[in-house]
């Protein structure tokens, strides 16, 4: 058994979890022990080395005293829960509405809901790191929005890495949007500084009842030493709609699985993602959209810019089951490599077992468009400036579509920093334009 597996089991043995979660933990521990450790012969891990986990010794996470970090938060008027090193930090969190509860504070009814639904979409029998998450679960966040209501502010779940020694932690989110109900959920992952090198497995399950609407964000903006393996698993019932956005700046290992089950006719999923690894970072997105019933639509767009010796993996699977007639599914993945040492492994996978469907997929890997480069140079920009601005534009096209303007506004300067465009951004006329 790999050393990392042992470390996780040892951690689980030291924890003092709530009794009602013990069945889930036992199930997780079992799969965690029996499922094979990732290697090149296991398809979902073929291009994603996990050596960053194998080489590290982790300690248990501990609460830490922090100062001056809150300016890193998105200035949202939101219900906020902050976890530091995986541990709930009430001092940074806001009052919670009745719809939101931590697992630790769950009522008997809520416990039953959690026990019934946790792991129903995110299967620990299939996903090794869901098993890890279950094996070490002690807490989590439950959001339940009642039929025909709307969560009046976004739910903002923040995971801050601030440990002194690399630690192991798991995070869990369970969302249940009732019939014709609506909510917005923002998951934000960050680190205090560049020294954090811990591991977090963050698994989210989103259940959308008939005609429910959910805006979901998962933003990985950590510094580059961390390791993260997580997933977002969604079930869409009749006429419900998921609008999801995700961003990964890049880290030692940053893997996310997005799994979407279309289980009610007329459901729609909109999934947009960006990844921007540099240096020797590794980002991996595996998406898997299951069209199980007719008349559902999926629009999936992922874009990446891979620089230096970084590596990105994108695997976009769309599976259309025999009953899923009239499916409309589009998948696009575009990549820019800005160095000849950068690597992208992109693979769209379409499996279609129904005959009356419309599906499109495309993956491109390109350098910057020469024509656009030339155009900008004729306007006085040097090659390097032109290159940078075109890269920024490539990414900004998706940021412009982010539905929450505060999130978009928060991300833009961060991306400008990523592209060394700080000066350009702060002096930009766009900012002035907004003030008018």
């Amino acid at each position: 058994m790999s050393d990392f597996k042992q470390q996780v089991l040892a951690l689980a043995a030291r924890q003092e979890p709530p009794v009602w979660l013990q069945d889930v933990r036992a199930r997780g521990a079992e799969y965690w022990s029996s499922l094979p450790w990732p290697n090149r012969r296991i398809e979902p891990w073929k291009y994603t080395p996990v050596s960053a986990l194998e080489q590290q010794t982790f300690t248990d996470s501990k609460p830490v005293a922090l100062s001056d970090w809150e300016d890193k938060l998105i200035p949202l008027d939101a219900y906020r829960l902050v976890f530091v090193n995986g541990i709930f930090a009430p001092q940074y969190s806001t009052e919670l509405p009745a719809q939101v509860v931590r697992f630790a504070d769950a009522s008997a009814e809520q416990m039953t809901f959690i026990q019934t639904n946790l792991g129903r979409l995110a299967s620990s029998a299939e996903h090794l790191f869901v098993a890890m998450n279950e094996a070490t679960i002690t807490d989590g966040v439950l959001l339940q929005v009642a039929d025909n209501t709307r969560l009046d502010k976004p739910l903002y779940v923040v995971h801050l890495g601030a440990e002194v020694q690399p630690s192991l932690a798991s995070a869990r989110l369970l969302v249940h949007i009732g019939r014709s109900a609506q909510a917005e959920v923002i998951e934000h992952y960050l680190t205090r500084d560049a020294e954090q090198a811990g591991f977090l497995s963050s698994q989210s399950e989103l259940i959308l009842e008939e005609n429910a609407h959910l805006y979901h964000y998962r933003l990985h903006l950590e510094d580059e030493k961390v390791t993260r393996v997580g997933g977002v698993f969604t079930e869409l019932l009749r006429s419900s709609e998921l609008r999801a956005f995700t961003l990964s700046k890049g880290a030692a290992l940053l893997r996310n699985d997005y799994v979407i089950f279309h289980r009610g006719e007329g459901a729609h999923a909109d999934l947009q993602g960006l990844y921007l690894p540099r240096n020797r970072q590794l980002v991996d997105y595996h998406t898997n959209v299951q069209h199980c019933v007719p008349h559902c639509t999926t629009n999936e767009v992922f874009r990446g810019i891979i620089g230096d010796s970084a590596k990105a993996v994108f695997n976009g699977r769309i599976h259309i089951h025999p009953d899923a007639q009239k499916t409309l599914a589009e998948l696009s993945n575009k990549n820019l490599l800005t160095s000849n040492r950068a690597e992208i492994d992109t693979k769209p996978e379409l499996e279609i077992y129904a005959d009356d469907v419309r599906c499109a997929h495309g993956a491109t890997v390109a350098q910057i468009d020469d024509e656009a480069l030339y155009y900008l140079q004729t306007r006085g920009l040097n090659r390097e400036q032109a290159h940078t601005i075109l890269s920024f534009g490539f990414i900004n096209e998706l940021i412009e579509q982010v539905s929450n303007p505060l999130v978009a506004k928060y991300l833009l300067p961060q991306l400008a920093t990523q592209f060394d465009l700080d000066e350009w951004y702060t002096s930009s006329a766009e900012n002035a334009l907004e003030k008018l």
Binding site: D369, D370, E371, A372, Y374, Y375, L376, Q377, T378, R379, G380, L381, N382, R383, Q385, I389, L390, F392, G393, F394, I395, N396, E397, E400, W424, S427, S428, A429, E430, N431, A432, L433, L436
Partner: protein, 249 residues
């Protein structure tokens, strides 16, 4: 200002310009007309510095300097501007940001201070209004989803803001309706000055009704075969290029 001497240019092993010679002085407007494939757009691209074009012999001197030795952006800094026949769309980069960063780059090379964001914004809006380009175009991606006419007006907007000394307009009139044509022409005419010259590459005499040229050159098979005044453009409009081809042969 500009002296082109016996210029020969190849594109992917095909000779396009074959001994092109022309002199342009400050304040002058030169129209270059000719049938498709004569080499009109190649001339614009060579002046701007496009990579795919290989100069095999001849010279281009711009304000006393060897223009061909300069990089694309250096030519822009020295005052060469090409209005593209097919302006490029750049989604994700707002027109406003693009204009600001271009003008900043130009002013920096001329030793002028950068505009403040607010000053530039006012200038850009006023200039857009002159060209009857709705200010909302400033917020959109560069040329993204613009109609043909809007793209051409956006080129002229850039030209006005960048204040070049040599303006090369590559078929700026193609695809414009009469109103847009007049707007573009008025924009050009307002920029005419003793220290600025224009080379207007066009298919149609129509534009020259609104921008009066000092010289009209006919480009056939990579060379200027005839030079005249605006009357020549009118003759071409009625007679076509056939008679000149015979004359040359």
């Amino acid at each position: 200002m500009l002296s082109i001497d016996k210029l020969h240019v190849k594109v992917t092993d095909k000779d396009i310009l074959k001994g092109f010679t022309m002199d342009v002085k400050g304040g002058e407007v030169h129209a270059i007309m000719g049938p498709n494939g004569a080499g009109k757009s190649t001339l614009g691209s060579v002046l701007a510095g496009r990579e795919a074009f290989e100069v095999t012999s001849g010279s281009v001197t711009f304000q006393g300097e060897d223009l061909l030795a300069l990089e694309v952006d250096e030519r822009a800094h020295k005052g060469v501007f090409l209005a593209f026949q097919y302006p490029v769309e750049i989604p994700g980069v707002s027109n406003m940001e693009f204009l600001k960063v271009s003008v900043d780059a130009m002013r920096q090379h001329r030793g002028l201070p950068a505009y403040s964001s607010m000053d530039f914004l006012k200038l850009a809006r006023a200039t857009s209004a002159e060209l009857e380009l709705d200010p909302s175009f400033l917020k959109r991606g560069v040329n993204e989803g613009f109609s043909g006419g809007e793209k051409k007006r956006n080129e002229i907007l850039q030209m006005k803001l960048l204040e070049p000394s040599l303006c090369v307009l590559d078929e700026t009139d193609s695809g414009l309706d009469i109103d847009a044509l007049q707007t573009v022409a008025a924009g050009v005419n307002a920029m005419r000055s003793p220290d600025r010259a224009f080379i207007i590459i066009t298919h149609y005499q129509r534009l020259l009704d609104f921008i009066e040229p000092d010289f009209v050159h006919v480009l056939l098979d990579g060379k200027i075969v005839k030079t005249g005044d605006k009357q020549l453009a009118k003759d071409l409009e009625t007679k076509g290029y056939g008679w000149l081809e015979e004359e040359v042969a």
